[in-house]
């Protein structure tokens, strides 16, 4: 089990700025097992099976081109599919606080390191991503919205909006905190992108400006 490395299969980064929520960046990833597993007659190659139900500490660093502005750590357990879903900003701050980050519209980077606790290997570098969204200035200005949260069923595509649709641009749809695209079906119904496959229990949040 030692020397287990992981790779990031899916990286999804969106801003989470809904009224009343903690500010942060939603982060989802599927952690795959890249250490070879010997079984009779063959070795299961790396990146072919998820690393399920493992405790992993993530260390997120938000930096600009000059310096690191914020560091935090969070420990989560991957689900049976190796997936983790967490919000950067809700972890234990190591340096500064998430609110201290200056969202000045300039490019920032999110650096991710992980520590698979069973391996005792310490933190290893995982990935660096550009942060493409500027969350907080908008967050504080949104006061007049209606939102509707529903737990989706497997394969669900159609959802009812909280208000009649007057302007499709006034609607944002999030699945488990990640923004997804959609199309209007009628005055009160939208259809989410078919590639955004819904599973049982997924949280679909429809935010609609009045």
């Amino acid at each position: 089990m030692e020397c287990k490395k992981i790779i990031l299969f899916l990286f999804l980064l969106v801003s989470s700025f809904l009224h009343g929520q903690t500010q942060g960046l939603n982060y989802q990833a599927v952690i795959l097992n890249t250490s070879e597993i010997e079984i009779p007659g063959t070795n299961v190659k790396e990146n072919q099976v998820p690393l399920g139900l493992e405790d992993i500490t993530f260390r997120f660093s938000v930096s600009n081109k000059d310096e690191i502005e914020y560091i935090e750590e969070q420990t989560v357990t991957t689900d049976a599919s190796g997936m983790v879903s967490l919000i950067v900003g809700e972890g234990t701050p190591i340096s500064a606080t998430f609110q201290d980050i200056v969202w000045d519209g300039k490019l920032k980077y999110l650096n991710i390191e992980i520590d698979i606790l069973n391996n005792n290997d310490g933190f290893i570098f995982l990935d660096t991503q550009k942060i493409l969204y500027i969350p907080t200035p908008i967050a504080n200005s949104i006061t007049s919205t209606e939102q509707f949260v529903v737990n989706a069923v497997d394969g669900q595509l159609l959802f009812t909006t909280p208000l009649p649709i007057t302007d499709i641009r006034k609607i944002d749809v999030y699945r488990n905190g990640a923004r997804i695209s959609f199309t209007q079906i009628n005055g009160t119904t939208i259809q989410i992108d078919k590639e955004a496959i819904c599973y049982e229990g997924d949280e679909i949040r429809i935010v609609q400006l009045k």
Partner: protein, 230 residues
């Protein structure tokens, strides 16, 4: 060259068996198998068999019995062909990933057939023997990945196994009997001969076989045939 030698050996065995055997048997049945006592090259057991079904797969056998002692102890030599489907799993993190093997073996067997109890036309036999098995087909599948472990030569091509069987034999006539056998086999643990050094496992097999026993000496009178020729 080696293949030709094997064929020649089998042919010689068949000829000598036909000319000396007292009984010939043909049977078919179903067998299951599991990988037991698995240890990989790091000394870890990465397999977990618990909770998985053991689907029965067909098997065939043919062989000859030679009387050694008062028709109670017979020498058993034969061939068998068996298919196995092994469902098991391995760990990735703390979850089990199901995996399935499809294997076929062709085997050469040799051992004893001992009559424990005789009662009228019924006979209870114990059947200890060894087989030397050649892998003739092998695949391994997990998630959406299918591997041909026969062509890749990553699973041991040969196995030496010891078997113990318990059987009932019913004498239909003085020429034909029928039998029902339950057989337990374990391959002898040896370090893997494939690419994974230090890897060890025991192939545990169970089989039920039903078949017919023919009295060859009654059906084919070899002495008479020999005399006619002369």
């Amino acid at each position: 060259m080696k293949k030709n030698k094997n064929i020649a050996l089998l042919f010689l065995l068949l000829i000598s068996s036909l000319t000396n055997a007292q009984q010939m048997y043909v049977g078919s049945g179903f067998g299951t198998a599991t990988f037991d006592e698995y240890v990989n090259s790091s000394g870890e057991n990465t397999l977990d068999n618990s909770g998985y079904s053991k689907p029965p797969e067909p098997s065939l056998e043919v062989g000859f019995l030679f009387n050694l002692f008062k028709q109670r102890v017979k020498f058993d030599i034969g061939l068998n062909y068996s298919k196995y489907k092994i469902n098991t799993s391995f760990y990735s993190g703390n979850i089990r990933i199901p995996t399935a093997y499809n294997l076929s073996y062709f085997g050469l067997k040799g051992g004893l057939n001992v009559a424990l109890i005789r009662w009228k036309k019924l006979q209870l036999n114990i059947n200890p023997y060894f087989t030397y098995d050649w892998l003739t087909y092998g695949t391994n599948a997990y998630r959406n990945i299918l591997l041909d472990i026969y062509k890749e030569k990553t699973l041991d091509r040969t196995l030496l196994s010891y078997h113990i069987g318990l059987g009932l034999e019913y004498i239909i006539s003085n020429k034909i009997s029928t039998y029902l056998n339950y057989n337990i086999a374990k391959s002898i643990t040896e370090e893997n001969q494939d690419s994974s050094e230090g890897e060890k496992y025991v192939l545990d097999r169970r089989a039920i076989t039903i078949g017919l026993l023919f009295d060859v000496s009654e059906i084919i009178n070899w002495k008479r045939l020999w005399n006619v020729r002369r």
